[in-house]
């Protein structure tokens, strides 16, 4: 009746067959960002890194936010139809339900934010999280943190402190930021631009709970003018961007910000 290309290869397509179940897993939680022990009550997201690719479905039942008494808090994280995995399936982005974070929405009015300043919480990842082989985690993972007052300040590059390296060296260029910045923003939203206008190749390191940024160039610094270009979509832990808050009054004045830091290496 309907002529559509028939799939002859379905057997091959599902050759992987049913998931293999394991008694004991080997995959672990490798890292959780942000790493600070104190996090603002309006924080937007956690990132959970696993040591191996994970199964894509139904991770949320394995992840809980616990209060100081160990009680599970409900309705904290956004349940999306598709969980937010990196392409290599090793990083899960866990979004706090933005309806509760944002002021004025029904969810916020009714429940308030999940986090309350001054309280202690634990992010709990149980072994029920399955890796791509269908195996449980090797061990559960918990991160303890304290909630602090809401962060309602934009990152301000003009308040960052820049430590210039010396000409002819491969010393790192260091920025002390004016507060913790999202680690992915620090990896992808800041670039050192060389005198030729192209990004300088090198390596980025972070320190002090994502408040310090170090850039070590692959080649030696030359006696020239460099820039640090800042993508306007750089965000802090609460989703505030330079000049724009996550929750922005519509009559707020436009705040100018420095999209570029210009600097020169110190003479050797």
């Amino acid at each position: 009746m309907i002529r559509v290309l028939l799939a002859i290869g379905l057997a091959a397509a599902v050759a992987a067959g049913p998931l293999r179940a394991c008694e004991v897993g080997e995959t672990t939680v490798a890292e959780v960002y942000p790493t600070a022990a104190a996090l603002p009550e309006n924080m937007l997201r956690f990132y959970i890194y696993f040591s191996a690719p994970m199964g894509l479905d139904d991770i949320l039942p394995a992840i809980d936010l616990l209060d100081a008494e160990g009680r599970v808090l409900e309705g904290v994280f956004l349940s999306n139809r598709y969980d937010l995995w990196s392409a290599d399936r090793t990083r899960l982005t866990l979004l706090f339900d933005p309806g509760r974070v944002k002021t004025g929405l029904a969810a916020n009015n009714e429940l308030g934010r999940a986090l309350v300043a001054g309280e202690t919480y634990q992010l709990s990842i149980t072994v029920a999280a399955e890796d791509m082989e269908g195996c449980p985690l090797a061990s559960a993972h918990r991160v303890t943190f304290e909630a602090t007052e809401a962060d309602v300040l934009s990152p301000s590059p003009e308040h960052w402190t820049l430590f210039a390296p010396s000409v002819g060296t491969r010393q790192p260029l260091t920025l002390y930021l004016d507060g913790p910045v999202d680690h992915l923003s620090l990896a992808y939203r800041l670039r050192v631009i060389g005198p030729d206008g192209a990004p300088v190749a090198g390596r980025i390191d972070l320190d002090e709970a994502e408040t310090q940024w170090h850039f070590t160039p692959r080649a030696e610094w030359s006696a020239a003018t460099y820039h640090v270009a800042i993508d306007p979509q750089l965000e802090d832990l609460a989703g505030n961007r330079p000049g724009v808050l996550f929750d922005q009054p519509t009559d707020a004045p436009v705040i100018d910000w420095l999209p570029t830091l210009t600097w020169s290496p110190a003479p050797s």
């Binding site: 009746m1 309907i2 559509v4 290309l5 028939l6 799939a7 290869g9 379905l10 057997a11 599902v14 992987a16 067959g17 890292e31 937007l44 997201r45 890194y49 479905d57 956004l78 999306n80 598709y82 937010l84 995995w85 990196s86 392409a87 290599d88 990083r91 982005t93 933005p98 309806g99 944002k102 002021t103 004025g104 929405l105 029904a106 969810a107 009015n109 009714e110 992915l184 923003s185 990896a187 992808y188 670039r191 206008g197 990004p199 190749a201 090198g202 390596r203 980025i204 820039h227 270009a229 993508d231 979509q233 965000e235 989703g239 996550f246 922005q248 009054p249 519509t250 999209p259 570029t260």
Partner: protein, 410 residues
């Protein structure tokens, strides 16, 4: 100040890189589905950060309108795919514009699958690796020689919805990195310049705020001659905005025309015509929800609200606000699509059996008679011998026939 050249190295949220391929590899995932025309099916590949356009052979147009009555569809599907029913995760549903065949995207274990299903229950998996296709990637920054202290995968876009209108594919999504509410417009055929805009919404609070929020479901509609994006957001505001404002790099604020209720995830926004006996069409918008009932809104009410100031007062506890909606008893519906002049097609979770059913709802009725046991169903019930009684009998007979119970016709 920054030169355009400097900023050109920073890609914003997501650069769209178009790639042409005669035969693509099988996708890493098959999530949102959308037909551009009878021979072009878009399949969003959220895990692979790409959208594929598959070319299908043109089928024979359906000559009659027939309801889907495939109860226990997920069981038949599991058998066809030789997987356990519990290993199937359903993603989306689309109806072929002329053949009326259902296309369902899903994950079987870890394998992405798209199947074609006809009213007689025939399930035909598509061989995605062999179908001719073109693709467009939803990728982030290109490799620029910068490495990180640990292996940090770039952010990609997880597609939440697709809609195709007049040569443009609208793509909404959530970043797997930083939170972003960008909306992409990609010309089709792929290869042209994509446009990316940042959509913010006002929300109802004393001193209005605007916030980035992820679009969960959307539909491009013609509202009084103005092409308009109608989008349902995660915490259920319903927002309109003219697509003419969605230029590259633009930052636009949508008009919040309703808050449909807290504690709910919108699953689908669709638009369709309902025809009366004279063949006159009345257009409607339907918002399918995960937790709440489906909201049916006459298109003219959406248009009127879109042209009026949006919500500006706080919304009270448990309240809905804004444009009035008609509550329809479509709970359990997971995905829906406009099937034809008479029917909406749905993937519906059967609360009795736990199976996913593939069943049609008659437009204008929005319920399935066979989901209910009522007085009419008792053997000794006699329809009154008057216009109303006989009208009800005729209507019930129609519903029984199309829901697959011709033996119950009285």
């Amino acid at each position: 100040m920054t030169t355009p050249r400097l900023l050109a190295y920073l890609t914003g949220f997501t650069a769209i890189v178009s790639a042409q391929a005669a035969f693509a590899d099988a996708p890493m995932s098959a999530t949102v589905l959308e037909f551009a025309d009878p021979t072009t099916l878009f399949v969003a590949d959220s895990a692979g950060a790409a959208i594929h356009a598959y070319t299908l052979l043109e089928g024979e147009a359906a000559t009659e309108s027939a309801a889907y009555t495939l109860e226990g569809f997920s069981r038949a599907l599991a058998e066809t795919l030789a997987v356990a029913e519990a290993d199937i995760t359903f993603n989306d549903l689309a109806v072929h514009p002329t053949t009326q065949a259902a296309y369902v995207s899903l994950t079987a274990g870890t394998t992405p699958v798209v199947v074609m299903v006809t009213q007689d229950g025939t399930i035909t998996p598509l061989d995605l690796a062999s179908l001719p296709s073109t693709s467009t990637e939803l990728s982030t920054a290109a490799d620029d020689g910068v490495t990180f202290w640990r292996d940090i995968p770039a952010a990609t876009l997880t597609v939440t919805d697709l809609d195709y209108a007049d040569g443009t594919l609208f793509v909404s999504g959530l970043s797997t990195g930083e939170f972003a509410s960008t909306l992409h417009q990609i010309p089709f055929p792929f290869g042209g310049d994509a446009q990316t805009s940042s959509v913010e919404i006002y929300h109802a609070v004393h001193d209005q705020m605007e916030t980035r929020a992820p679009i969960r479901a959307m539909e491009i509609l013609d509202l009084d001659g103005v092409q308009t994006l109608v989008a349902a957001y995660t915490c259920t505001p319903l927002v309109t905005l003219p697509t003419s404002g969605l230029t590259d790099g633009a930052h636009i604020t949508g008009n919040t025309i309703a808050e449909l209720g807290y504690g709910n995830t919108p699953l689908e926004v669709l638009s369709f015509d309902v025809f009366d006996q004279e063949g006159n069409a009345s257009p409607f918008v339907l918002v399918i929800n995960r937790e709440l009932q489906a909201n049916l809104i006459p298109l003219e009410a959406v248009a009127a609200a879109a042209n009026a100031p949006g919500l500006s007062e706080p919304v009270g506890l448990g309240m809905a606000a804004g444009v009035e909606t008609i509550q329809t008893p479509m709970s359990g519906v997971f995905q829906a699509a406009d099937q034809d002049a008479q029917f909406l097609l749905t993937l519906k979770r059967n609360l009795d059996t736990g199976a996913m059913d593939l069943v049609s709802f008659r437009k204008g009725v929005y319920l399935r008679l066979s989901d209910f046991i009522s007085e009419y169903d008792f053997p000794d019930y006699v329809y009154a011998d008057n216009q109303m009684g006989q009208g009800t009998r005729g209507f019930h007979n129609l519903m029984k026939a199309e829901e697959g119970f011709p033996e119950l016709i009285e």
